[in-house]
Amino acid sequence: MTLAFVVQRYGLDINGGAELHCRWVAEHMRAYGPVEVLTTCAHDYITWADHFPPGTETINGVFVRRFRVSRPRDVFEFSRLQARVLTTEHKLEDELAWLEAEGPTSPELIAYIQEHEADYDHFLFFSYRYYQSYWGLRTVPRKSILVPTAEHDPVIHLKLFRDVFRLPKAFIYNSEEERDMIQTLSGNRDVPGTVVGVGTELPAEHSAERFRAKHGLSGPYILYLGRIDANKGCAHLFDYILRFKRDTGSPVKLVLIGTTVLPIPDHPDIRHLGFLPEQDKFDALGGAELLVMPSFYESLSMVTLEAWALGRPVLANAHCDVLKGQCRRSNAGLYYANYAEFRDALDVLLGEPRLRETLGRNGRAYFQARYTWDIIERKYLAVLAGAGA
């Protein structure tokens, strides 16, 4: 059983959700047969400019083939086309132009898939919304499995994706909410789909004390992990946490780990530590009272799973169906839809150590039952078997 993982970017230092998801699954599925990754030379997800040399290499034991991007993304042109397809009446041709502008445009990659279809038993496409998935699925529909990693963002309503969601032989969804959304939008209930998600690489040990000592942190803190961006709900988070501290007088700190594209309020209890190594991330999680997830759009949220794996509760944005659904299914997190709910939920969590402990325990059990690697691998194998490997 030879598998081809098709993804827009691939590399050890690429930490985008879908890309990391693809890399981890590829590395784990290597144990069951030959695995290849078909990807582009891009590193930057804004421009998709060629960064890696075209050709082949091996990363963590996985054979990788890279193909050139024929033209980097013109950001202004892409914005113009996106505004057009999202806000005005338009034709399918406009949407195809938008897809082309979005990139990473790599006809070489699609041509390779077409020519070498017979060399692989299955093509696993990651991220429905990019060039390689759209054209790749149309090229080899009978051998394709789609891992859509879809969020509830407006582009999923574009007409060109409705047909695409009916093409693959099987789906691997990240959550029940993602499956329901895609099935409702495209009417593809007859296409087999399984909710799988992804595991995570946990360190052998973690130490909250080490993290506190390294970064000079004292007192209780809540943690945000990920890109600090308005799209991730961070602007609301800053507003809410400042109001929370003013209203309740709580000494809790907000610790932010990740690169930022948003100005961070100058407040002694908001600490931005920048992008940190994985070990520091888990050390920080281990010492946090809870993880806060203010994002409006998520297809799974790997950091939420990591928090639960370490037994930490989560406070999530209720406007994100996936996060709310995960909190309710796991009984391991609270959620908020406005400031008053944020304040009360955070107040309850910070004031009740036993509640944090119980939620954390539930989270760990939920993670163990659904997201350990042996379970994920078994589910992938079942999907592949069902798809006729």
Binding site: R162, D163, R166, T184, L185, S186, G187, P220, D247, T248, G249, S250, P251, V252, C327, R328, N331, A332, G333, L334, Y335, N338, A340, E341, R343, D344, A345, D347, V348, L350, G351, E352, P353, R354, L355, T358, L359, N362
Partner: protein
């Protein structure tokens, strides 16, 4: 529910959510907990002291009410008494009668008639108001029932339009698919016809 070891707060919270939340640790259900928090938030919003609900509206005075009557003219001061014994007696009589001046004024002036007229007018107004309230009460109940019906109807319409959109989307996809299949069949038919003609030619040669 009392916290086991709540975090220190530098200043007291005016409203402690922990007092109104009840956590069942044996059967912890996040949905139930969130319902309690949402109810507490809703209760706070409707509390006029702490909440953010708008103050009740101040009703303006009806425009067609008559203006308040002008105050009655001040009671005439007693005329200065003539000098001597008579004036002394008059002065004493005035001092003695001073406490009774309001009653005397009431009897002497037609105020009692105005009061009676005002009272009758108020009574008539009350009777009319009672009628209006009774009539409006029935209308309000009816309006409330109508509003509830309308809300249900709107919900049904919303669901219907949602379902229609879903059905229309699904039909469009099916339509496109069938159209593609028809095109393919047309091509196959065309090919079969050509083949048929070619075979006929071969056979008839």
């Amino acid at each position: 529910m009392k916290p086991e070891a709540p975090m220190d707060k530098s200043q007291p919270d005016t409203r402690d959510i922990l007092d109104v939340i009840n956590v069942d640790y044996e059967n912890l259900d996040v949905s139930v907990l969130m319902d309690q928090i949402q109810k507490a938030v809703a209760a706070e919003a409707s509390d006029p002291e702490t909440g953010t609900a708008a103050a009740p509206p101040q009703w303006p005075a009806p425009p067609d009410l008559p203006a308040a009557p002008p105050p009655p003219p001040p009671a005439p001061e007693p005329a200065p008494a003539p000098a001597g014994l008579k004036s002394k007696l008059q002065g004493r009589a005035i001092r003695l009668l001073t406490p009774f001046f309001p009653v005397l004024r009431l009897l002497g002036l037609p105020l009692h008639q105005e009061l009676r007229a005002t009272q009758q007018s108020l009574h008539a107004t009350n009777v009319r108001l009672d009628g209006v309230v009774q009539e409006l009460g029935g209308s309000l109940d009816q309006a409330r029932r109508d509003l509830n019906k309308s809300q249900e109807y709107i919900k049904l319409l919303h669901n219907l339009s949602h379902n229609l959109i879903l059905a229309a989307t699904s039909q469009k996809i099916e339509f496109d698919l069938l159209k593609s299949k028809v095109r393919m069949l047309e091509k196959e038919l065309e090919f079969a016809r050509k083949r048929e003609r070619a075979l006929e030619e071969e056979v008839l040669k």
